[in-house]
């Protein structure tokens, strides 16, 4: 090999590029926030990889860590909606949720409507787990309720059942076609997980309104936004692409990943 000639032109280009990177400022990459940007689609594909890798390493039954009451630092920080003002919810709340009914319908052999007493009559379980918010904070609390798998056994999902859609009472915003309510979807892997429960109690008390009374979901291997509060109905569905923004949840429709294991 002959002595290398300093490739000045290349160097100058490289240096200029390197210098431009911070100078350009991060506005340069604001286009990535556009949900229809093709580059964003490429970046989003990493989320699918994360889901596949985590799911294959977890298996169906790997458990989230459970703690003790000594690990409770402060009360469970309420987040998102903390006091729904929807008339249907206020009416139920005024009666101490006596007339609350949770309907489980859709791709099931036997649709069932549960009262709170019905839910309490099913086998109960408690777990002290860490709640990780997408924002970055964590809180530990004791959650009590019925395993979602027991509820599904009662309604017998059919062969078309692939997802569970949780319809909630709380309005997040006013859209062009009316109130946009919170909703979430999970698949059968999480629905049947032994720690996935419909919580009706928190820290040995009835579930407070701020934390999702009377019924909220706990999906312990994912972030908080998957754990729908103020659950009004569960729809067993083959697909969520026809619902709202089509991405499987209120926050998913606003750019957050459907799989929230990270």
């Amino acid at each position: 090999m002959s002595p290398p000639i300093p490739r000045r032109r290349l160097l100058r280009l490289g240096l200029a590029g390197l210098g431009a990177l911070p100078l350009a400022g991060c506005k340069t990459f604001d286009f990535l926030a556009d949900p229809n940007d093709p580059t964003r689609d490429v970046l989003v594909s990493a989320n699918r990889l994360t889901k596949e890798v985590q799911r294959s390493l977890q298996g169906r039954r790997a458990l989230a860590t459970e703690y003790t009451m000594a690990d409770l630092r402060q009360g469970q920080k309420p987040n998102g909606t903390t006091d729904p003002q929807d008339p249907a919810y206020l009416a139920l709340k005024a009666q101490g949720f006596r007339d609350y009914r949770l309907s489980v319908t859709g791709a099931v052999a036997r649709p069932v409507t549960f009262s709170l007493a019905d839910l309490h009559a099913l086998p109960q379980q408690s777990q002290i787990t860490r709640h990780d918010c997408v924002e970055g904070w964590s809180a530990i609390a004791k959650w009590s309720g019925v395993r979602l798998a027991h509820v599904l056994t009662r309604v017998q999902p059919t062969a078309q059942a692939r997802f569970l859609m949780f319809e909630c009472f709380d309005t997040m915003e006013q859209g062009l076609s009316g109130a946009v309510k919170y909703y979430e979807t999970i698949d059968m892997v999480d629905a049947l997980h032994p720690q996935t429960i419909l919580a009706v109690g928190m820290n040995d008390q009835p579930l407070p309104v701020a934390n999702g009374a009377p019924v909220r979901l706990r999906v312990e291997r994912q972030l908080g936004y998957k754990m729908a509060k103020y659950v009004r109905a569960i729809h067993v569905i083959p697909d969520f692409r026809q619902i709202e923004g089509g991405r499987g949840g209120y926050w998913e429709d606003r750019g957050y990943a459907w799989y929230a294991g990270i």
């Binding site: 002595p3 290398p4 990535l32 989320n47 458990l63 690990d71 294991g261």
Partner: protein
């Protein structure tokens, strides 16, 4: 051996041009530049969603019952007039208006931990920050594994990076040489270089991957011992932040050293592999 000697360009045999950086070293270096840029800017965006650092598994919150609680670090804004950006480190408060806590053009200042020029996207958008962060995190992990694999097979790790005993004994002399601005341009990295590269590449890089994974509830179900070992999820988050700060410091020193050592020669060696050596200034002094 990682180097091949090129032809001697000058009459003096001391200023040989050597092949110092093999292709895998150069390629992984530039992929790291790309990844770290995006990981930093998107990471600061993510931090802004909860601009406080704690120890343990659970976070501290200001509540009526608990009052203000000390964080390791907290960045916030206080209502005015005039409004102020306040950074709290171990309970000590600093006014950081304009950069941390409160920033933006006069008249349109925003309450945000890190300023718009430091985050991707420039506006508050946690969802996009996460999309960018996790994409480049995957590339970072793959790049790290490639670098380790190449390093093990072609001797780059043992020959260039891992500090040897004699590097430690000549460290004081090398530190003195660096402080007096007498940088060596040898075929090999100097002891201080080896040590800093070893810390960054073999401690901080894997540390960032591990503390990042420990924040994932899905990954914690796979390796529950990891988050325990690190002292809890919020401790892992604080360590991740500390690792980021260390990497930013390394970057600044790294660039300063490149400028002092001769930017063209250094840039040529990390782009083409070829590097012009010079006699060790510590040894030519009479």
């Amino acid at each position: 051996m990682t180097q091949r000697t090129g032809s001697v360009e000058t009459a003096s045999g001391d200023r040989a041009v050597v092949y110092r950086h093999r292709l895998p070293v150069r390629v992984t270096h530039w992929i790291w530049v790309l990844c770290l840029f995006f990981l930093l800017a998107s990471g600061l965006q993510i931090f802004n969603a909860h601009p406080a650092l704690d120890l343990g598994n659970a976070s501290q919150f200001k509540t009526a019952a608990h009052g203000p609680v000390p964080h390791l670090l907290a960045i916030g804004a206080e209502a005015g007039p005039p409004a102020r950006g306040v950074t709290e480190i171990f309970g000590r408060r600093f006014d950081t208006t304009g950069v941390l806590g409160l920033s933006g053009p006069p008249g349109a200042q925003e309450a945000r931990a890190f300023p718009a020029w430091a985050t991707i996207p420039s506006f508050q958008d946690l969802a996009t920050g996460r999309v960018v962060h996790f994409f480049f995190a995957w590339i970072f992990v793959v790049n790290f594994l490639l670098w380790v694999t190449f390093g093990l097979f072609d001797g780059h790790l043992r020959g260039d990076i891992l500090p040897r005993l004699r590097d430690l004994s000549s460290l004081p002399r090398d530190i003195r040489a660096h402080l007096s601005g007498k940088l060596s341009h040898g075929r090999r990295y100097s002891p201080l270089q080896r040590l800093s590269y070893a810390v960054v590449l073999l401690v901080i890089f894997p540390g960032m991957i591990v503390t990042g994974l420990a924040m994932s509830p899905g990954f914690d179900a796979i390796t529950p011992w990891l988050v325990t070992l690190l002292g809890g999820r919020q401790t892992a988050r604080s360590l991740h932040f500390l690792g980021m700060a260390s990497l930013v410091l390394f970057f600044v020193v790294h660039i300063v050293m490149v400028l002092l050592a001769g930017p063209l020669n250094e840039m040529r060696s990390i782009l083409t592999g070829w590097y012009r050596t010079a006699p060790d200034p510590g040894e030519v002094e009479p």
